[in-house]
């Protein structure tokens, strides 16, 4: 059974519409900008969404968070198509499966700041705002969906895994269509956290460069309407594996990464040689790029062009899997490889074919990698529908 990506909505630091993001991505632009907002006294390059978001005043208290606003802004871009799908199949036959790592934790940060000053939690705070399941709940509520609605939260692999999970629901005939993808929000929690791990770069990130020294955190949302209804881009396969190694360091041998990639290729029914573009996880930490590079080199050698687009969008953590799947979809439909803004001199010890600049290319299949904390690995294969 083939699964298709019928509609996509996206916002990130590159912009707030599919068209704007596509234009800027293929022009080699970056949305990363320096700011102290979440790191007082320390300027950091971050991939911030600067566009206005839908007002959350009309939402019930427990659903009010910036994270949900980002998700709803992406939903607005595809709303008519989703409504039509619900009308067609019935509210109980459509699901919502999303990935997030932050959910509304930024709201909890704010609430505990008020508590520290005033001794009480603000009335504007509700536990539901930080609940991992919140983005799925708010979308289901807005759309009147009564099918399965839940969230996958596995750090940086969250939204790729959500898309695989959505595919399983349709395969098992529990749903006819699923609103899937992911969303994440900039907050002090992740900025301080990744800084504490010394994973954050003070400069624009430099994926797979010999000079790479860490990530630029980003935020954003990407949503897909997935179903069996044919469309231009198909989700051909997915593969998942765990490292069983360490909570915050990847297995340096890239073992789990390799298993995930191979499983995705197998499920897609293609050989490595049939992949035309690899969107690497490519966070620009020394450890990730080396480990991922090992796995990719072992399977693809230096034949398949690949790169990380995190220099354009920032590392959007829980939303990365979905945002980068959408980058792959754009590459497939436009027949163009994106470049890797910010990458300087390449690391010669990673022997893959790294695509530095945008280039027109006829693409049939693309692979997208998402490897997260706790050794959670997920790879997706997207393809041009026949």
């Amino acid at each position: 059974m083939k699964l298709y990506l019928n509609e996509c909505g996206i916002l990130c630091s590159l912009g707030a519409s599919h068209g704007e993001i596509r234009r800027r991505l293929f022009a080699g632009e970056s949305g990363i900008m320096a700011t102290e907002t979440w790191s007082a006294g320390r300027v950091l390059p971050l991939g911030r969404v600067t566009d206005a978001l839908p007002d959350s005043g009309a939402l019930p208290l427990h659903q009010r968070s910036r994270n949900n606003q980002l998700a709803l802004a992406a939903l607005a871009q595809i709303r008519p198509a989703v409504d039509a799908t619900i009308a067609r199949y019935g509210a109980g036959r459509v699901g919502v499966v999303l990935g997030t790592s932050t959910s509304g934790i930024a709201e909890t940060e704010r609430a505990l700041r008020v508590h520290a000053e005033q001794g009480v939690l603000p009335d504007a705070f509700h536990y539901g705002q930080q609940e991992m399941g919140s983005p799925a709940e708010v979308l289901a509520a807005q759309l009147g969906i009564t099918g399965p609605a839940y969230v996958h939260s596995s750090a940086c692999a969250s939204s790729a895994k959500a898309m695989a999970s959505a595919a399983r629901l349709i395969r098992m005939n529990l749903c006819d269509a699923v609103v899937t993808g992911g969303v994440d929000t900039l907050c002090a929690f992740t900025v301080a956290g990744f800084s504490a791990l010394e994973s954050v770069s003070a400069a624009r990130c430099n994926p797979l460069s010999v000079h790479r020294d860490g990530i630029n955190i980003g935020e954003g949302a990407a949503l897909f309407l997935m179903s069996r209804e044919p469309a231009a881009v198909a989700l051909c396969g997915w593969g998942e594996a765990s490292d069983g190694h360490h909570m915050s360091a990847p297995d340096p041998a890239g073992g789990g990464a390799r298993i995930a990639i191979e499983a995705a290729l197998r499920r897609a029914g293609i050989e490595a040689a049939q992949v035309d573009y690899i969107n690497l996880h490519g966070t620009a930490t020394p450890a990730n790029d080396a480990a991922e590079g090992k796995a990719v080199a072992a399977l693809f050698g230096d034949r398949v062009p690949g790169n990380s687009t995190k220099g354009a969008t920032g590392h959007t953590l829980g939303a990365a899997g979905a945002i980068e799947a959408l980058v792959c979809a754009m590459a497939l439909t436009d027949g163009r490889l994106p470049g890797s803004p910010g990458t300087g001199a390449l690391d010669p010890s990673i022997p893959i074919r790294y695509q530095l600049h945008g280039e027109d290319a006829s693409l049939r299949h693309a692979l997208s990698n998402s490897f997260g904390f706790g050794g959670s690995n997920c790879s997706l294969v997207l393809g041009v529908a026949q």
């Binding site: 700041r113 939690l121 609940e131 991992m132 709940e137 996958h152 596995s154 098992m172 069983g244």
Partner: protein, 265 residues
């Protein structure tokens, strides 16, 4: 057309207030002994390397304990199993500590606290303890987390034809967040789900329903069912403990509930 999801249950684990393991819980569910309310007892995670074992949080001990009990009952090899972790919150104490620190000027948070704050921390430690490299799903769906985990696990069993260990667990938040999310204590249930009947306790078949979920007759168990999201599984476990074929309706995500049929082997 709705296709019901089905799998065999080959192992069960349970840790809850007054119910330190599945053996005790089964006896209580059969009415052989009363449910004595008591704080949840968390086992020491022997499988973790010493440093991680010393630092293991409540949710790590909870999820590892319940999961390993299910694996042991089935005589399975944890290192080979795909897993689904389903939880409403993650580590409430850790989350609180980090947010409290961030509420001040000090941004030098502990890197260990940070990597332990992700929703999939328990899953990550499971992988380290068991060396499992199979896929691991980590799900959150508020009070419906058990049901969401069950659906995803059964779909994986069907699609991939491999056993899947479901571990649903929840823990408490300290004050002041406790006032906004009042889960009272730790509770977890683990089910090892298999495509094959060999060594199984019975088979479950799950389908969505709009019928209302059934409360438990025993007041203290009904209180657990409502207070700890993972304990929404209790009506099913009651049938399992009593080897009582038939169906129950479990609270899932209103207006949808899950009808679960149990057929002992």
């Amino acid at each position: 057309m709705n296709a019901p999801l089905t799998a065999y249950v080959t192992g069960i684990g349970l840790i809850a207030p007054g119910l330190p393991d599945w053996t005790t819980a089964a006896a209580v569910l059969r009415g052989e002994q009363p449910h004595v309310s008591a704080p949840t007892v968390l086992p020491v995670p022997e499988l973790l390397p010493p440093a991680e074992r010393r630092r293991a949080s409540r949710v790590i001990k909870l999820s590892l304990g319940a999961g390993l009990d299910a694996v042991k009952q089935a005589g399975a090899d944890a290192s080979t199993l795909a897993t689904v972790f389903a939880a409403s919150g993650a580590d409430g104490h850790n989350c609180h500590a980090l947010c409290e620190q961030l509420a001040g000027e000090d941004r030098q948070i502990s890197p260990t606290r940070f990597h332990n704050s992700v929703h999939n921390a328990a899953a990550g430690y499971w992988g380290i303890a068991t060396r499992a490299m199979a896929p691991c799903q980590v799900i959150g769906a508020f009070d419906a987390s058990f049901g969401a985990g069950l659906l995803d696990a059964l779909a994986q069993v069907a699609v991939d034809g491999q056993p899947v260990l479901l571990i649903a667990y929840d823990s408490e938040y300290p004050a002041p967040l406790h006032a906004k999310r009042d889960t009272p204590d730790c509770g977890a249930v683990a089910l090892l789900l298999s495509p094959g009947a060999e060594g199984a306790l019975g088979a479950i078949t799950v389908a969505p329903t709009t019928a209302a979920a059934e409360p438990l007759a025993e007041a203290s168990l009904e209180s657990l069912r409502g207070a700890i999201p993972a304990m929404r599984a209790l009506p099913l476990l009651r049938r399992v403990a009593r080897a009582d074929a038939g169906a129950v309706v479990l609270d899932y995500l209103a207006p949808m509930q899950l009808q679960v049929a149990w057929q002992p082997c």
